[in-house]
């Protein structure tokens, strides 16, 4: 099945109760499939055919506030249209989960892959994950609820699927048994929610807060995020038990331990980067890869640990912040403790092949040897 359908199956198997969604390419298959599950009675949930993404997230938030496990999916323009409510969910600690099929923002119109959309929401108080494959999309769809609803966290989780290379590429996906998922993901207990609308015990959520209290509210979210690493690791470990399949935690280290050059990537093209590392090793160059599965909380320590033997690191950003640079590179700069080359590649869905990653790794080695890694390189830019 495709990555999109894998998400839909994951959401079904996680017994999501309220789905509110709006179509957008290349995400639409997720919500079409979920609508079908609900209509055919394969899912007990309610499906709200909202009139916009802003409303989709608003509905999910209120559903969570009434104790229902909620899900939505979107992409690019839908994500930005929803942004006000994305912050509402994060800053209000509503454990919604959302699949984001990463797609380039217009203008000009483009439906192809880029990560700038999902990264634009990085300050919203959400856990952010990226999937490499359809299998991981299925697994993440289930794990996301467990992570979001963990009482040590109780924050929303979004996970990215690269447009087309994950969303529309069919591969074999192992599904779990319903009873295994039920053991892994217990029903959402209202007592776990930070905000619960209960007429028996009425409270007001979200009214005005003065400067005397806001920092404390924000700090409590920061503390939840301090616990997020452990929450994610536990969720992954327990998932390995029920699935019998190895899972990646915060980062995946691929042939890193003895690597002289380590590429840092996230999402689908990590597979091509791994191939590149293999080819380079055949040619006698010790290359490796760190793939970020989790972007919030940003696993800085794990990354700097993983690259500690390297001579040089190449961060490959499929995103861009004008006047700043590649977003991941910017975020990691200063934490890695290594010479770090910054590559911007694959914007607007431009293909990235193992050859490209080979070139990137070699270029990084060359820059490292020359001792000047200051230049940001737009890989494959046509003259």
């Amino acid at each position: 099945m495709t990555g999109n359908h894998a998400v839909a199956y994951g959401v079904r198997d996680a017994s999501a109760e309220v789905v509110a969604a709006y179509p957008i390419t290349p995400q639409t298959q997720i919500v079409e499939k979920l609508a079908e599950f609900v209509e055919k009675g394969e899912m007990r949930g309610r499906y709200i055919r909202v009139e916009s993404e802003h409303s989709a997230m608003a509905a999910c938030i209120a559903a969570e506030a009434c104790g229902a496990r909620s899900f939505t999916a979107t992409s690019s323009h839908g994500l930005l249209y929803m942004s006000e409510m994305i912050f509402w969910a994060g800053l209000g600690s509503f454990p919604v989960t959302m699949a984001v099929v990463t797609r380039t923002l217009a203008p000009p119109w483009s439906i192809w892959n880029e990560h700038t959309d999902i990264l634009s929401q990085r300050d919203a108080g959400w856990v952010i994950m990226m999937c490499e494959s359809a299998q991981e999309a299925y697994d993440t769809a289930i794990q996301a609820f467990r992570i979001a609803e963990d009482e040590r966290l109780v924050q929303p989780v979004m996970y990215g699927l690269d447009a087309f290379s994950v969303s529309h590429t069919a591969e074999e996906v192992d599904l779990l048994e319903k009873k295994d998922v039920e053991g892994y993901l217990p029903p959402l207990e209202p007592s776990r929610l930070r905000v619960y609308m209960d007429p028996e015990n009425p409270g007001t959520f979200g009214n005005l807060v003065g400067p005397d209290r806001m920092m404390e509210i924000r700090h409590s979210i920061k503390e939840a995020f301090d616990r997020a690493r452990v929450v994610i690791k536990d969720a992954v470990r327990d998932y390995e038990k029920i699935s019998g399949r190895r899972q990646v935690g915060l980062i995946e280290e691929y042939r890193c331990s003895d690597a002289e050059v380590v590429m840092i990537t996230t999402g689908a093209s990590s597979g091509d980067a791994k191939d590149a590392a293999d080819y380079l090793r055949d040619e006698g160059v010790r290359a490796g890869l760190v793939r970020l599965r989790v972007i919030r909380p940003l696993p800085r320590e794990e990354i700097s640990d993983a690259v500690k033997g390297a001579k040089v690191v190449a961060v490959v950003d499929r995103d861009y912040s004008f006047g700043y640079g590649g977003i991941l590179a910017g975020e990691l700069e200063g934490y890695i403790g290594k010479k770090m080359c910054r590559f911007v590649a694959g914007l607007g869905g431009r293909d990235l092949t193992p050859e490209d990653f080979k070139g990137i790794a070699m270029k990084a080695l060359e820059m490292g040897e020359k001792g000047d890694v200051s230049k940001e390189i737009w890989w494959g830019l046509k003259g």
């Binding site: 709200i48 409303s55 608003a58 104790g67 007429p199 209290r213």
Partner: protein, 304 residues
């Protein structure tokens, strides 16, 4: 269908407590008090950015004895839809969802979400308290500001007419649409009761005119007088729409004939927001009212 509540029908129990942060003479706060008396404690309230977000006062205190979910400005009806879905799924269909939004949050920025919810016919009650401007941000014009009114963004008077959200809601063919005015609390209460007790599922919409002393520029003790004049001059018509037909309610029932209506001037002249009007402006606005009634009267008496 028109059973009218009396004051005895309203419980003495209060669900909004004294000490809220509304301005003196605030019709919106007064009406909320009435609304919760009608709907009772098994109600969840959804409110967007508006005066109501201020009226609730500062966290961690609240004057509301029902659960309140504050949501972003444009999202009231969508959040209401999510709450309805969750409550039904959890088997709590006895809990009512009350969306309570201002005219800006209804006629303007929230209209899309409201239209979506109305088209899906979500099972909830939506009250727009209409103080005819963005009051929370200091009286800027909204789509519901009447023609000629002064606001801080229409300093020589608004050029356009008031948008009719009730008519927009009627076009959605939801089960129940009504107008009300805060100066006639029992008429409002009766309509809420009707909306609440209708056996048919769906969105029930009440558009409540809410005089606002600072925004409309009249003394705080004149709220009820201003509200009454809005109705008695025919500027604001009290009606219900259901089963495909309209009926007038309360004092509006007697105002079909033009001679029974008070001159519009009586309503306009006690509000500072219309203080700049000249005689010919008053006449032109009076003509608007008369035409509106003429148009409206043609719709009466037709019920499927």
């Amino acid at each position: 269908m028109s059973s009218v509540l009396t004051i005895k029908d309203l419980t003495e129990e209060e669900f909004t407590l004294p000490g809220n942060a509304a301005c003196p003479g605030c019709a919106a706060a007064l009406s909320l008090r009435i609304a919760l008396k009608v709907l009772g404690p098994k109600t969840i309230m959804i409110v967007p950015a508006s005066c109501i977000s201020v009226i609730q006062g500062y966290y961690p205190k609240t004057p509301c004895r029902v659960p309140v979910l504050n949501v972003a400005f444009a999202s009231t009806a969508a959040a209401g839809s999510g709450a309805v879905a969750a409550l039904e799924l959890k088997g709590k269909s006895g809990v009512k969802v009350l969306c309570w939004a201002g005219d800006g949050g209804t006629a303007d920025i929230g209209l899309q979400a409201l239209s979506g919810a109305a088209e899906r016919n979500e099972n909830m009650i939506y009250v727009c308290y209409d103080n005819e401007a963005y009051m929370n941000t200091g009286t800027q014009r909204s789509g519901a500001t009447p023609r000629a009114a002064f606001t801080t963004t229409t300093v020589t008077g608004k050029l356009e007419r008031k948008k009719s959200v009730p008519e927009i809601m009627i076009a959605h063919r939801i089960p129940y649409v009504a107008t009300a005015c805060a100066a006639f609390p029992l008429d409002f209460a009766s309509k809420l009761k009707r909306a609440e007790s209708m056996p048919v599922r769906g969105l029930k919409y009440i558009h409540l005119l809410s005089p606002c002393p600072p925004g409309w520029r009249f003394p705080a003790e004149k709220t009820v007088e201003v509200g009454k004049l809005a109705v008695m001059t025919g500027m604001w018509i009290l009606y219900e729409w259901y089963d495909g037909g309209y009926n007038l309610t309360g004092p509006s029932k007697a105002l079909l004939e033009k001679s029974r209506r008070r001159p519009l001037k009586d309503y306009l002249s006690i509000q500072g927001r219309f203080g700049h009007l000249k005689e010919e402006d008053l006449e032109s606005l009076q003509r608007d009212v008369d035409e509106h009634w003429e148009e409206f009267s043609k719709k009466l008496g037709i019920r499927a």
